[in-house]
């Protein structure tokens, strides 16, 4: 039983981070939780003896996903701001 404790902990972390990512509604905050989910998934993959999968998950989860989300949020906000300015003029 004690041998399975780390895997159990990894599963719990992934479950908590996944639930959090669904429950958070603000995209900026969600990007933080998504990066957390990526990190927990990488830990789980390593605990399940799959280091290659963990490596790719790290690359995608810790930097790329938040970058995509934050860039899209910034683009959408900028567009909305300029549209508002045009309406006023």
């Amino acid at each position: 039983m004690t041998g399975e404790l780390p895997v159990l902990l990894g599963l719990l972390l992934v479950a908590a981070a996944g639930t959090g990512a669904v429950l958070v509604r603000d995209p900026v905050r969600q990007s933080f939780v998504l990066s957390l989910l990526g990190l927990s998934l990488a830990a789980l993959f390593l605990l399940l003896q799959a280091p290659d999968v963990a490596l790719s998950q790290l690359a995608v989860g810790s930097a790329l996903t938040p970058l995509m989300v934050l860039l899209s949020v910034r683009k959408v906000r900028r567009k909305a701001r300029s549209e508002r300015r045009e309406e006023r003029e």
């Binding site: 981070a17 933080f32 990066s35 830990a43 390593l46 690359a59 930097a63 970058l67 934050l70």
Partner: protein
């Protein structure tokens, strides 16, 4: 389960999980430093697990995370600069987190390199330790710079204006 795996699990539970709570709650000024702490601690967990499973190849994941973790923090700092400038994080808390990072890295990497014995594995572990400490330092400097920009307001955070 040997001592190294137990230590890794304990660090995951008592170090990474609280840091993860910090990342998931609060303002950006709390989330960004917590994200840096979380990646550093997870990298240390990977190192401990690699030793625990007796698979030196697993150290590569820690090496990748020691580079990508600070990169992720810098990304958050860059894209959330205006939020960090509005509510800058406490100077003292930021310094305490950085020192805590250094202590954690030293407390994990030094015993691991002692266990590895002199050789290539030890050099790799030490390089990862230095990378982790450097990453923590760089991330703290970036957060400081973003917060300082808020004190000397006037121009909005760079990149947020100018092209329209």
């Amino acid at each position: 389960m040997n001592g190294w795996t137990a230590a890794g699990t304990a660090l995951l539970l008592c170090g990474f999980a609280p840091a993860a709570c910090g990342v998931a709650t609060g303002r950006a000024s709390r989330r960004v430093p917590a994200q840096n702490v979380a990646t550093t601690l997870l990298s240390l967990v990977f190192l401990l697990l690699a030793q625990g499973f007796a698979r030196p190849a697993y150290v590569d994941t820690a090496l990748v995370l020691s580079v990508l973790g600070p990169a992720g923090t810098l990304l958050f700092v860059r894209l959330l600069a205006d939020q960090l400038a509005d509510h800058p994080p406490g100077e003292r808390r930021l310094r305490a987190l950085t020192v805590g990072n250094y202590v954690a890295v030293a407390a994990v990497v030094l015993p691991l390199s002692a266990a590895a014995g002199p050789g290539r594995a030890m050099v790799k572990l030490l390089i990862i330790g230095v990378l982790l400490a450097l990453g923590s330092w760089v991330a703290t400097r970036a957060v400081h710079a973003a917060a300082a920009m808020g004190h000397g307001r006037g121009a909005p955070a760079e990149g947020m204006s100018g092209d329209r």
